[in-house]
């Protein structure tokens, strides 16, 4: 029986779940939820995901929302040991990142939403505290590099040998930096990490629609971002 994934290719957490399905060769069907048509607010979709968010999955009788819960559930069900080890100490270490992500890395999308997506596509005025928000974002990026990439010592989050679900979640969020066109020169370890993660074929594959969107709508894109999309 196939996993039904309800997603949108522009949703960062939805791409992470799409990536694990492809990497794990898990049989699945994709259902695109079109935000512009408000498909997330239909009664049918709310039965699956009560918050109306993507991603959500249906696996037989069970419907699940929250991408990290879905990533863990799929990794455990399909025994993707390298993506989420069964050892409780290794899990606890990865859980640190997965928990921190919601109020850490996820700020990238919140800043992009408030200062790029809402003004550009919905005509909503950007908040006035732009400098403060971008300064705060720089702090989160630096914290990510220092604590989770060990200031360049780690190839993957917290030094795991192979990519884990923490890396899948992180890279999908980091790609949103393209739309913010943030200078990566102060973040060399982040830049290296993004290069490495986007060279993984399945990760690159699920990002193709997002890359297309970025190429269409981002203005004066820095060369490093153009290179990361090749």
């Amino acid at each position: 029986m196939s996993i039904q994934l309800y997603f949108n290719p522009l949703s960062q957490p939805a791409r992470a779940v799409h990536a694990i399905l492809v990497i794990g060769k898990i049989p699945h069907d994709l259902h695109n939820i079109d935000f512009m048509k408000q498909e997330q607010n239909t009664p049918e979709y709310k039965k699956i995901s009560p918050s109306g968010n993507v991603p959500s999955i249906v696996d037989g009788d069970i419907a699940l929302f929250e991408s990290h819960t879905i990533l863990k559930y799929l990794a455990k069900k399909f025994k993707l040991e390298k993506l989420y080890p069964s050892d409780i100490v290794e899990q606890a270490r990865l859980d640190q990142y997965l928990d921190w992500h919601h109020t850490g890395t996820r700020n990238i999308t919140l800043v992009a939403r408030d200062f790029v997506f809402y003004p550009k596509f919905l005509g909503k005025p950007a908040p006035e505290n732009k400098d403060e928000r971008f300064k705060e974002l720089e702090w989160y990026l630096t914290t990510f590099e220092e604590i989770f990439l060990g200031n360049g010592k780690h190839k993957h989050i917290l030094g795991f040998e192979e990519p884990t679900i923490a890396d899948l979640s992180a890279i999908c969020e980091l790609v949103t930096l393209f739309m913010l066109n943030i200078d990566l020169a102060p973040h060399p370890h982040l830049h290296q990490y993004m290069k490495h993660m986007l060279s993984i074929p399945e990760v690159n594959q699920v990002h193709q629609p997002a890359f297309g969107f970025t190429q269409k709508f981002a203005e004066n894109l820095r060369q490093e971002y153009v290179d990361l999309m090749k």
């Binding site: 009560p50 918050s51 069970i62 699940l64 929302f65 929250e66 991408s67 990290h68 819960t69 879905i70 863990k72 559930y73 455990k76 069900k77 409780i88 100490v89 899990q91 606890a92 270490r93 859980d95 640190q96 997965l98 928990d99 921190w100 919601h102 109020t103 996820r106 914290t143 220092e146 604590i147």
Partner: protein, 230 residues
Amino acid sequence: MSNTLTLYYNPISMPSRAVLTLLTLGNVPHTAKVVDLQKQENLTPEYTAINPCQGVPALDDDGFKLFESHAILRYIVNKYQLHDFYPKDPQEIAKVECYLDWHHTGTKLVSKFVFDHIIGPKMMGRPAPPDFEAKEKEMESILQFIEYVFLGQGKFKYVQNQPKMTIADLALIFEIQMLFGFNYSFDKFPGLKNYVQHMSQVPQIKQANQAFFGMIKNAPLNDFIKGLIQ
């Protein structure tokens, strides 16, 4: 069981209280050390070596260090086999995890509202943000979602209809109780009100709240809250 755990915590911190309560409920031998946030003990090099994020709680298990309260809760459950507080069935696990993930961007907005608009201005002389009504409305939509989805419109005794209290309930209750400091009338949400009542009466939860209750006991409080903080 030998005592290898040191929990670094602050008695006012909600996630700290959740972890302390699990340790008490599970009869897990541990040493609890207070981190004085007002004296900025969390910013010292010694504490930063334990928790690079400089938050509370943090765990040191005989050299294995962990931050993020949900990661700590899961690790304690797994290590000490506290199956009363976490399901075994993969789908029930996923339901509990769904709450724990949603919490970071859902429930946390409740305590953020209380900190920004009440505790900050009244106790720390910080200016209140300008958008009180909008934030109060957002906070109440979170309470409504909790009651509707995670408490089954008031029909569930515990989050996600688990047969016994789980770590999801421990994460939730201390956040909601911050509304006591706001003298909140829970009457709009009778299902949530029932939940707050029965959870607040659990002796170990009451015990973990002593410092917080001491802080608010002289404020004007409605009878419901007064009854729960005796």
